[in-house]
């Protein structure tokens, strides 16, 4: 239990550091460089009011005219209460914005995470069983290849062929969830939405299975050379049985850790897929916020991502003894 408490404290300290860094990044750094983010949003003149008046008005509205120490307290308060304020760019509450987009991205990330893990385990076992043979080389090569395929490139090509040329999939969300201009409801809605999401989900799957597959393969190959496997082989136990019962069971553990890390970061990491497929998800929200220096949205989004990552990592810590009986927190 001691170890777990230490772990939790470590992670909370980390989160606190991230929070402070975010404050530095979004509030202090612009102040150092003398940038008033509000000025990015103000037209030269509006209804006869001068620019400086408009800036002052916005500053008062978003609390940017207060000294940094008060802003810091308000910032921490906002993070603790989840009242993140109003977004500059979208002009609506930040919490609502994130809450709206979270399920969209989840619909994209969770199925592809499950699919890619299954794919990684399947192909990883295939490669491990044929270690050193042609099948393994080809398989591993394709897995490594996927590390380097720019998502936006492959996605653009796939959209062009499958959506525009062949017309197998709807090319936009609007096209998917409406029929003759009338919005679909119920089962039809979900079926068509999933039809639209098939391509992006498959793309994320193909582009992200590689790391986990290579991890599983390398772990299995290492384990194959370990003493206990040699011992099992010497006892004349069927190779297949050794592979499935002993090697893969052990090799799968780091893969699950990796899935946890991927889950934590994919939510903000599917920017390019969302961009190409025009899906209003968290990734695009974040990129828009960064482009427009939308400070309330940025600080909240960064905080949520870090919080989410830390919670996931903590859950992984808690789950690990259940998956791996050798690990025990005494």
């Amino acid at each position: 239990m001691n170890y777990l408490v230490k772990r939790i404290i470590e992670r909370v300290v980390l989160l606190f550091a991230v929070i402070n860094f975010n404050f530095f990044l979004f509030q202090i750094l612009p102040a150092i460089y003398n940038i008033n983010p509000v000025q990015l949003y103000v037209p030269p003149t509006y209804r006869g009011l001068s620019r400086s008046v408009l800036v002052q008005g916005l500053e008062a509205r978003f609390g940017l005219n207060q000294p940094l120490d008060i802003r810091y307290i308000k910032y921490i308060e906002a993070l603790l209460t989840f009242h993140f304020g109003i977004s500059f760019h979208y002009q609506s509450p930040v919490f609502d914005l994130i809450a709206q987009r979270f399920p969209v991205t989840a619909l994209l990330v969770i199925p592809s995470l499950i699919l890619s893990t299954l794919l990684a385990i399947g192909l990883g076992i295939y490669s491990a069983a044929r270690n050193g043979k042609l099948g393994d080389s080809v398989n591993s090569f394709f897995a490594i290849l996927t590390y380097f395929i720019p998502a936006f490139w492959l996605a653009a090509i796939v959209v062009y062929y499958f959506s525009f040329q062949l017309g197998w999939f709807p090319s936009s969300v609007a096209e998917a969830i409406t029929h003759n201009g009338v919005a679909l409801t119920g089962v039809d809605y979900w079926l068509n939405l999933m039809k639209f999401l098939t391509l992006p989900i498959l793309l994320i799957t193909v582009l992200s299975y590689g790391v986990r597959m290579i991890l599983l393969r390398n772990q299995s190959v290492d384990l194959n050379n370990s003493n206990f496997v040699v011992n099992l082989k010497a006892r004349g136990i069927n190779e297949r049985r050794i592979l499935y019962r002993h090697v893969v069971r052990n090799a799968v553990l780091p893969v699950f850790t990796r899935v946890g890390i991927d889950l934590a970061f994919l939510f903000a990491g599917v920017v390019f897929i969302e961009d190409i497929f025009n899906i209003p998800g968290l990734g695009r929200l974040l990129v828009t916020a960064s482009e427009t220096l939308d400070i309330p949205l940025l600080s909240a989004d960064f905080y949520i991502i870090s919080l989410f990552a830390i919670v996931i990592l903590l859950i992984m810590d808690l789950l690990y003894p259940l998956i791996d009986p050798r690990v025990r927190y005494e």
């Binding site: 380097f148 903000a268 960064s290 220096l293 991502i305």
Partner: protein, 476 residues
């Protein structure tokens, strides 16, 4: 070293990666020789052929068959009616026109393609003092196009040409012909007049066949006159161009590709060198010194790993661009530095773990026992043993940098004014979605370039790691 080299050369993956890296390095270094263009995104270097021109070799495919390439040749065969032509030298000839007569010099043009994007004729002419009208007519079968008329300088009707007895250049281009200077264009409907640059090539060179350019010299006076003219040059810009065709602005994709390779390779190597430098310093200190320093440096790294990379990169870039800090250093430099500053944590972790394992080796222990200082041990014992990993890591980091930079360019937040692979992809996919035209010769090269170059670096790094690690650190 010899053994190491032999070990490396025995690996097929190493040879393959070496071939890839050498190929791109040669392209990058030889870019100024391989292409005459320095920045195809400049308007002055665009329109070298039609927009979306396919690669020249693609005309072997049925759907692109017959697309016109860029051509430029002198029309040297001709026949004459109603006067005399004497060749002065290989390029100049003298046309004598009888009093009140007309001399027609007809140059046949063999045209074996579909209509070009644009065409042009040019020749030098040294006109006589007397009054004349030179009509330029293009004809094919029974269709004729009176493209242009040339009159003496003091004539009331434009376009006049040159000083008598001095050569001046006549340039007749389908793009520059309009209702005001071309009799044929002025017979078109108003809409077509406005778009004569588009319609003219399709009307004049409508199909493969022999076309004739007739220069009709009309003597308006009562005395015989003679012109000295050079043989006309015919040129056209076609729908098939070069090795990799053109983009939506008609700029050479091949030039963009190799300039992009040059740029991407350069920033990839520079940024990874910076990543290695940061990773090495922090990783070696954390791994070797250990204790509280290790804890804090490791925590610092974990903290960086927790931040979302791309949005952080964009935010920092936005802040720095807005602030005007950018005026002193170029955007490319800022991007490279930012990428390096945000991508070192993975490298640091690896170097740290390797240092940790090296720290407990006997040679370090013995060196310590002999009273060597920490700095000396790090420099003399740890660093040389890390060299293999450092080189491998350098190779491993390059793809990450290229992908990050390309992603930024793709989103339109990076370098916009110069062709990088990311920019090419960004513009190509934007054009594909808006115009619904998918230029594979434009979309595929940069993406394949990124993938192949990254694979090259990856396998290069892997081979180095396998061979150079003194203790076979991989998988240990």
């Amino acid at each position: 070293m010899n053994k190491t080299l032999r070990d490396l050369l025995e690996r097929k993956s190493f040879i393959a990666s070496l071939v890839i890296l050498v190929f791109f390095a040669v392209i990058a270094v030889a870019a100024p020789i391989l292409t005459p263009y320095s920045n195809p995104y400049l308007p002055s270097q665009a329109r070298v052929a039609a927009p979306y021109a396919v690669p020249g070799w693609a005309t072997i495919f049925p759907q692109y068959r017959g697309l016109a390439p860029n051509q430029n040749f002198v029309l040297s065969i001709y026949n004459v009616s109603g006067g005399e032509v004497k060749e002065l030298n290989s390029s100049w000839m003298q046309v004598s026109v009888p009093a009140s007569g007309t001399t027609n010099v007809t140059f046949p043009i063999k045209w074996g393609y579909k209509p070009p994007y644009s065409f042009a004729f040019s020749f030098n002419i040294s006109p006589p003092k007397e009054y004349y009208v030179l009509n330029v007519v293009l004809w094919h079968g029974n269709k004729s196009f009176w493209l242009y008329s040339i009159t003496p300088q003091d004539y009331a009707i434009p376009p006049q040409v040159g000083v008598p007895n001095k050569p001046s250049t006549v340039y007749i281009s389908s793009i520059l012909l309009s209702a005001s200077n071309s009799p044929y264009v002025s017979t078109l409907s108003p809409t077509q007049q406005a778009l004569s640059g588009v319609y003219l090539p399709t009307y004049t060179f409508s199909a493969p066949g022999v076309y004739n350019l007739t220069l009709s010299f009309n003597n308006e006076g009562n005395t015989p006159i003679s012109f000295a003219i050079s043989k006309p040059t015919f040129s056209d810009k076609g729908y098939a161009y070069g090795r990799l065709g053109t983009d939506n602005n008609g700029a050479s994709v091949f030039a963009e590709f190799i300039l992009g390779a040059r740029f991407d390779l350069f920033i990839g190597v520079v940024a990874s060198a910076m990543i290695i430098a940061i990773g090495l310093i922090l990783g070696m200190l954390a791994g070797y010194i250990g204790g509280k320093l290790d804890l804090s440096l490791n925590g610092f790294t974990d903290f960086f790993l927790l931040l979302p990379g791309l949005p952080l990169l964009i935010t920092l870039e936005t802040i720095l661009v807005v602030s005007g800090a950018i005026t002193k250093i170029s955007l490319a430099t800022v991007i490279v530095i930012l990428i390096a500053l945000l991508s070192w944590p993975g490298t640091m972790k690896i170097i740290r773990s390797q240092t940790l394992s090296l720290r407990t080796r006997t040679f370090v222990e013995s060196s310590k026992a002999l009273g060597a200082g920490n700095f000396r041990i790090m420099m003399r014992h740890i660093l040389p043993n890390l060299a293999g990993i450092l080189f491998a890591q350098l190779a491993y980091d390059v793809p990450g940098v290229i992908l990050a930079e390309s992603g930024l360019d793709f989103l339109g937040l990076g370098i916009r004014s110069f062709p990088t692979w990311g920019n090419m992809l960004g513009f190509a996919t934007n054009a594909a979605s808006s115009a619904n035209s998918f230029a594979w010769w434009w979309v595929l090269p940069p993406g394949l370039g990124i993938v192949i170059l990254s694979l090259g670096f990856f396998y290069f790094g892997t081979a180095l790691l396998d061979v150079l690690s003194p203790y076979r650190l991989r998988g240990e």
